[in-house]
C-alpha cells in the first residue's frame, strides 16, 4: 500500500470509529447502560387460575391466586399485559420503570372483571436492623385501617391505595380492620418483617365468600448508616466542666495552645 493509500485507509478507519462512537451515544445505545427494570406480576384474584402474557407473548399459564410471577426483565417503557381466565380477559397497558408490581385484583365495588393496578416498590435504603413494611388494599372491602400488635399504624386506606413504614425487624401481628371500627377483615396474622428488605402485603378477596387473604412478597433493599454505634467521641479539649460551665483556666490557655500547635 502506498503512503497516500495508507493515509486514506487510516482516515476511513478513524471515520468508522467515529460513526460507532456516535451511534452508541444515541438513545438506543444509552438504554443498555440504564439499570434494568424489575417487574413482578401479582395474581390477586382468589379461586381462579390466570394465564399471563406480555406484548402478545405467553409468560405463565395457570397462575393461581397469591402467586407472584417475576422478576420479568421488561425494557423500560410501555408494554401490554394480558390476563385470561375462563370467564374474562383483562388487557392493560403499563409503563415499566424501576421495581414495580403489576397487580390483578377485584375493585372495591361489584364488577364483571378484575382491574389492574401498578404499585411502585420503594427499594430505597433502610437503617440496619429495620425493614420496610408496605400494605396495599386490593380487596373488595371499603376503606380500612392497618394495625400492628394492636396499634393502628395507618388509617383510611382505599382500594388501589397503599401505605408504607420503616419499622424494626420483628414479627408483627398485622390486621386489616374497617375504618370506623368493627371486626377485623383480615387477621391478625403473624407477619415477619425482615431487616434489609421490603415486605409487601396485598390484601385480596371478598368477605362475602370468605376469600379474604393476603399475598406476601419480600424484596431485598440496601441498608444505610452502618451498625449501631459502639462509641460517640464528641469532644477533646477539656474546656467544659461536668456541670456545663466553661473551664476558664483551660479557656485562657486554649488560644495559646492552638497558636503553638499552628492550627
Amino acid at each position: 500500500m502506498s503512503v497516500p493509500q495508507a493515509r486514506r485507509a487510516l482516515s476511513l478507519v478513524l471515520l468508522a470509529a467515529l460513526v460507532t462512537l456516535f451511534t452508541t451515544l444515541l438513545p438506543g445505545g444509552v438504554a443498555t447502560a440504564r439499570q434494568a427494570a424489575s417487574t413482578y406480576v401479582v395474581q390477586g384474584v382468589p379461586d381462579t387460575r390466570v394465564d399471563v402474557s406480555v406484548d402478545g407473548n405467553a409468560v405463565r399459564s395457570g397462575v393461581a391466586a397469591k402467586q407472584v410471577v417475576g422478576p420479568l426483565g421488561l425494557s423500560p417503557g410501555h408494554h401490554t399485559v394480558s390476563f385470561s381466565s375462563p370467564d374474562w380477559k383483562v388487557m392493560t397497558s403499563v409503563t415499566v420503570h424501576g421495581s414495580q408490581d403489576v397487580v390483578l385484583h377485584w375493585p372495591a365495588d361489584a364488577a364483571d372483571k378484575p382491574v389492574v393496578t401498578v404499585f411502585t416498590n420503594d427499594v430505597s435504603a433502610v437503617g440496619s436492623g429495620k425493614g420496610r413494611l408496605s400494605v396495599a388494599h386490593t380487596a373488595v372491602v371499603p376503606p380500612a385501617d392497618i394495625t400492628a400488635d394492636g396499634k393502628t399504624l395507618f388509617t383510611n386506606i382505599a382500594n388501589g391505595e397503599f401505605v408504607s413504614a420503616v419499622v424494626p425487624a420483628a414479627t408483627y401481628q398485622v390486621a386489616v380492620v374497617p375504618t370506623g371500627g368493627g371486626n377485623p377483615l383480615l387477621g391478625p396474622l403473624p407477619l415477619p418483617v425482615q431487616a434489609g428488605a421490603l415486605t409487601r402485603v396485598f390484601a385480596i378477596g371478598a368477605p362475602r365468600n370468605g376469600s379474604m387473604d393476603a399475598v406476601v412478597q419480600v424484596l431485598p433493599v440496601p441498608t444505610t448508616g452502618g451498625a449501631a454505634p459502639a462509641s460517640v467521641h464528641t469532644g477533646s479539649a477539656g474546656l467544659v466542666n461536668p456541670d456545663g460551665s466553661v473551664d476558664t483556666a483551660r479557656l485562657t490557655t486554649w488560644p495559646v495552645l492552638t497558636a503553638l500547635l499552628g492550627r
Binding site: T24, T80, G127, P168, A228, V232, H233, D243, T258
Partner: protein, 204 residues
C-alpha cells in the same frame, strides 16, 4: 478492495452494530419494540393513602437556648465510632436511626462539646439541660417539637449497652449525644457521654 469499499463495509458494520446494541434490553418477550395493543386500557397507578407519612431526615436542630445547628448525615465507621461533623457548630444525624415521620425508635443526633481548634461548642448547653426543656427538629418539609424527659451522664465505654439510645423500637424519641463529665487528657479526654432523651410534643 478500494478504500471506498472498505469505507462502505465499515460504515455498514458500524450501523448494524449500533442497531443490535440499541433497542430493548433483555426483554422476556423477545420484542425489540414495545407493543401496546390498542384495546389495552392504561393500568391504574397505585397512590399512597392520605394517611401516609412522608418521612424526612432532620436538616436542623434547635437547642433549648434557641441556638440552631445545621444537621449533616453521618454513619457508623468500621471501628464502631459514629462519624461526627468536625465543625462543632454542626450536628450529625446517624443515617441508621429514625427519620421524622417514622412510627418507632430513636432519631439520633450528636455534636462536639468542644474542640482544640474551635473552642467551646453549642452542644455544651446540653450538660445543663433539664427535663421539660424544648428541642425542635426541622426537615425539608416537616418539623417536630420535643420536650426533654431525661438527661443522663453515661460512661463512654457503657454507651453501647444503653438500650434506648440507638433503639429502632418503641415509641418515637429524639436522642442528643455529646461528651461531658470529668476530663482526663491521659485517659482519652472526656470520660462520659451526656445523653438527652426527648419525646414529641404532638402527633407528627
Amino acid at each position: 478492495m478500494r478504500p471506498s469499499d472498505v469505507a462502505a463495509a465499515v460504515l455498514a458494520a458500524a450501523l448494524l452494530g449500533a442497531c443490535s446494541a440499541s433497542g430493548a434490553g433483555t426483554s422476556a418477550t423477545g420484542n425489540q419494540a414495545a407493543h401496546v395493543d390498542a384495546a389495552a386500557r392504561p393500568a391504574a397507578v397505585a397512590t399512597p393513602a392520605a394517611s401516609q407519612e412522608r418521612t424526612e431526615r432532620p436538616v436542623s436542630v434547635t437547642l433549648p437556648s434557641g441556638r440552631v445547628l445545621p444537621v449533616d448525615v453521618v454513619r457508623t465507621l468500621p471501628g464502631g465510632a459514629l462519624a461526627i461533623p468536625r465543625d462543632i457548630h454542626r450536628a450529625g444525624w446517624w443515617a441508621g436511626s429514625s427519620r421524622l415521620g417514622d412510627p418507632f425508635g430513636s432519631i439520633v443526633l450528636a455534636a462536639h462539646v468542644d474542640s482544640f481548634t474551635q473552642g467551646v461548642g453549642p452542644a455544651a448547653e446540653l450538660l445543663s439541660t433539664r427535663p421539660g426543656a424544648r428541642v425542635h427538629l426541622a426537615a425539608r418539609h416537616r418539623a417536630q417539637s420535643y420536650r426533654v424527659t431525661s438527661v443522663r451522664v453515661v460512661p463512654r465505654a457503657d454507651l453501647r449497652r444503653e438500650e434506648v439510645v440507638f433503639s429502632a423500637a418503641g415509641s418515637r424519641r429524639l436522642v442528643l449525644i455529646t461528651c461531658g463529665g470529668a476530663y482526663d487528657a491521659a485517659r482519652g479526654g472526656y470520660q462520659d457521654n451526656v445523653v438527652v432523651v426527648a419525646r414529641p410534643t404532638r402527633h407528627s
